[in-house]
Symmetry: C2
Subunit: 238 residues, 2 copies
């Protein structure tokens, strides 16, 4: 056990105040205060990139510091530990992603269109924020129990957003009703993630990724269609 006294997880964009009592929760300075305040953000940005490149464990705190252009110690002014850095990264980015996603989906009234949008969004995530995507999936799988526990709900929220799209499609008759929206959401995420994994591992150019996503969307959408004539799903009946 590495004696890691469960301190409070730092939050906010609070100015250097180590512990980060998330006391004054009044406003979100956002990207404001460039002059000084962008230090936290710089560190986070450096962290996504470095973690994605080398993995959490192989990344030295000093690597992140260097990439962010700050001193090692500075990181500890904003985050209580390396683990906290990862967790904060997670929280920060997923919050933003989710907000964006919900806003975007709100504009599309048709479930099928939305599902395609989800796939494209996910594709965009993989392409443009591949680093974040990598950190997310990797982290969820192998980091400490603490991280896993804190990160899971955030990730789940993302999946739920996808599930909601499917659920609505089922309600209005766009999609077959004999599958669980949550299951399908996870499967879709996994499928796209699987493609990305191969992409990350080796060859596969961007074009390939895009084409792959289109094919997957095609298969999923057809697979989800309501089948008017077919009897019922052979959903395995033990």
């Amino acid at each position: 056990m590495n004696a890691a006294p469960p301190k409070r997880r730092s939050k906010k964009v609070a100015p250097p105040a180590a512990e980060a009592r998330d006391a004054n929760a009044s406003s979100l300075p956002e990207t404001a205060a460039r002059g000084r305040g962008d230090k936290r953000e710089r560190i986070l940005a450096a962290a996504v990139s470095t973690f994605a490149q080398h993995g959490f464990f192989s990344t030295r705190v000093s690597d992140v510091a260097k990439a962010a252009g700050v001193a090692d110690g500075t990181i500890y002014l904003y985050f209580t530990s390396k683990e906290d850095l990862l967790l904060s990264l997670f929280q920060d980015r997923l919050d933003k992603l989710l907000a964006y996603m919900k806003k975007e989906l709100g504009r599309l009234p048709d479930p099928k269109t939305r599902l395609r949008a989800v796939i494209e969004l996910q594709l965009g995530l993989l392409e443009n924020q591949r680093e974040l995507a990598e950190v997310i999936t990797v982290t969820l799988r192998q980091s400490s129990r603490l991280v896993k526990e804190n990160a899971t709900p955030l990730f789940a929220a993302y999946l739920d957003a996808i599930a909601t799209v499917i659920q609505e499609g089922q309600r209005d008759g766009s999609f077959r009703k004999d599958v669980s929206p949550f299951t399908m959401a996870r499967a879709m995420y996994g499928a796209l993630d699987g493609i990305a994994l191969t992409w990350v591992l080796g060859k596969a150019d961007r074009g390939g990724l895009k084409r792959a996503a289109a094919q997957i969307a095609g298969v999923f959408l057809r697979g989800l269609e309501v089948d008017p004539d077919a009897s019922e799903e052979p959903t395995a009946a033990p």
Copy 2:
């Protein structure tokens, strides 16, 4: 460069001779050599379990040693390093899995049946050898470049086996031809893996997993059906 230092070269049956794992990936030593020779296997077994439970980095070599019931140093008689242990694990298990899979699939002449079998096999892998499955995906995502490079081909072989099933289905007209077998193979793997991820992360009982897999099989199989009326390539038209 921590290339395996050319240690001694004792041939023997399989007695300790550190030696980096090398290619003799043909014969299946089986569970033979019981008396003494099961030490390597004991270590490997302990490693899967321990790595899966704590992840590669958080696992101490001494943990594996303890789980295997051997001394720390003994591990270095069979493997050149912790990393080599992981790699050997990979090779050993994937070889066996692949062999088994090919044999099983050979018995089923119908592509659709085979595809279902693949899903079930994968499901079985996740259920009964979840530890192995966890190690595989986690490893592929975050370990060192060295491991990644060596492990990737093995994993690719597994995916290719799946792809072959789809490909054959396309040839004999069971599946639509406008999707890449490889892409679909990866997507299928990913989908099932995504389900497993959720399962690992939290709730979801076994029954749930089985049901989920059945639903996914249903959606994929329908999604892959040849669409008699549909034109040809709805696969995104640039």
